[in-house]
């Protein structure tokens, strides 16, 4: 029996979200990691508010990047290990739809939660409330793009026993443009300048990866699964 693509996406999405919500510790751990990493910067550099405000966009973005990297390795691994992924691939549903559902679910439990926690960190780092709009939207688009790039990397490394370090090696260079646009949008917003330019660029990158990355990630999965 085959079901329509949208129905397939919703089914996989609901399954992924249910599985994640049953293990709340795995959602919380990257968030706690995010908080801890951002604490390290004031401790190691300087607690001076003026300097911290200058460094805040970079700190925020690097910590968000590392925190979402942590959970990427598990994106396809659990399902690949117990054979679920092969069954999904054989279900007659296009692999692209499955990749889309799994990646969106991954973003909802990692990236979106990170965006929700980030105001706390931003306040602690002295980012003014007026800058929250550009900061939150750039983080939301950035983490979504990162999830797509991560899906490609996770698809390529899912067949490996120890793919975690290699996954970072693959995903981090690709995510550098993201870091540049995201941090500069936040930075401009903090100094009271218009942040629209880098935000638009970030949105363009986000749309581009959302359109193309599912195909690349599905191709990667096909290579490693067969």
């Amino acid at each position: 029996m085959t079901v329509g693509m949208l129905r397939g996406i919703t089914v996989v999405l609901r399954r992924e979200l249910t599985l994640s919500l049953r293990r709340p510790d795995q959602i919380l751990q990257p968030l706690v990691f995010f908080l801890i990493v951002t604490t390290l910067f004031p401790l190691s550099l300087s607690p001076e508010p003026r300097l911290l405000r200058q460094l805040a966009p970079g700190v925020l973005w690097v910590a968000a990047l590392l925190a979402s990297l942590l959970s990427l390795d598990g994106l396809f691994r659990g399902d690949a290990d117990d054979g679920t992924l092969e069954q999904l691939a054989l279900s007659g549903q296009s692999l692209n739809a499955i990749v889309v559902a799994k990646t969106v679910a991954h973003w909802l439990v990692s990236g979106a939660c990170l965006v929700l926690v980030s105001p706390l960190v931003a306040l602690a780092l002295g980012i003014p409330i007026e800058a929250f709009g550009p900061m939150l939207s750039s983080l939301a688009m950035g983490t979504l793009t990162l999830s797509w790039l991560g899906a490609i990397g996770a698809g390529l490394t899912v067949g490996l026993k120890r793919g975690n370090v290699l996954l970072s090696l693959i995903v981090l260079p690709l995510s550098m443009p993201l870091l540049i646009f995201g941090a500069s949008a936040t930075d401009r917003a903090i100094s009271g300048l218009a942040a629209a330019g880098p935000l638009y660029l970030l949105a363009a990158v986000c749309v581009l990866t959302t359109t193309l990355a599912p195909f690349a990630a599905a191709a990667a999965l096909r290579i490693t699964l067969e």
Binding site: I152, L156, L160, L166, L169, P173, L174, P177, A216, A220
Partner: protein
């Protein structure tokens, strides 16, 4: 008409062609580089602003061009191998990756040596420099992904896919000096209209570029032969070729 193209998919044919091309490419590379280096280092006039220090351009620019060219070639070969299932394409990509990474490293090193007297620093976090560094990391990623798999065929295909995804970086590097305010100088040679560089400086540069291209071709052919032998080591023609 297309038979020559189809024959390129056959490993023994590629092995023979690569062997036949190597000495010619090497000889051409030697002649072009000899002329380029002599003319560029000794006879071209010193730059009005940079003095003699500009002469590192004759190594830096060809290395940078080749770093991008080798990446594009690697991704193209990988795409051909993925789409038409031509195994030689993977061998070409595997042979090109370390050479391209070396050119990238050479471009970064010569660039930083040039940067010290001109900009007063070995390294600046400038778009052109940063994107070239990303290119180096991409090369590393592709090379480590290829050897990470126990099944070499899978590693080949995974590396090819990653190389194709990384192609987005190539236009970013090329246009970075136009898109962002960069410390790095803008395009002087590859652009519409007349080049912004004097002929006496341009000719040795073009010769060096040609020399680097031919050198890359020669090294690629040599590495490709080794790569094909390694991959086809079970085949009977390899035994015949090695014993001959």
């Amino acid at each position: 008409m297309w038979t020559w193209f189809y024959r390129l998919a056959s490993p023994p044919y590629v092995y023979r062609v690569a062997a036949r091309c190597t000495p010619w490419l090497l000889a051409g590379a030697c002649i072009a580089m000899l002329y380029g280096l002599c003319d560029g280092l000794a006879f071209a006039p010193p730059d009005y602003q940079q003095g003699e220090a500009f002469r590192i351009i004759y190594v830096h620019v060809p290395a940078a061009v080749l770093s991008l060219f080798a990446y594009t070639l690697m991704a193209t070969a990988g795409a051909i191998a993925l789409i038409w299932r031509i195994k030689v394409g993977h061998a070409v990509a595997a042979a090109a990756a370390p050479v391209g990474a070396s050119f990238t490293l050479l471009a970064l090193i010569t660039g930083s040596l040039w940067g010290k007297p001109m900009w007063g620093t070995y390294w600046a976090w400038d778009p052109r420099l940063t994107s070239e560094l990303i290119l180096l990391f991409l090369y590393f990623g592709v090379m480590s992904l290829r050897v990470a798999f126990e099944d070499p065929a899978r590693g080949d295909r995974a590396a090819a896919l990653l190389a194709i995804v990384g192609v987005v970086n190539v236009p970013i590097i090329h246009y970075s000096v136009q898109w962002w305010n960069s410390l790095h100088q803008g395009a002087t040679i590859i652009q519409f209209g007349k080049p912004k560089i004097a002929g006496s400086m341009l000719w040795p540069l073009l010769a060096m570029l040609l020399g680097f291209m031919l050198f890359f071709g020669a090294v690629l052919c040599m590495r490709l032969r080794a790569e094909v032998l390694l991959r086809e080591r079970q085949a009977s023609w390899v035994r015949a070729a090695v014993q001959a």
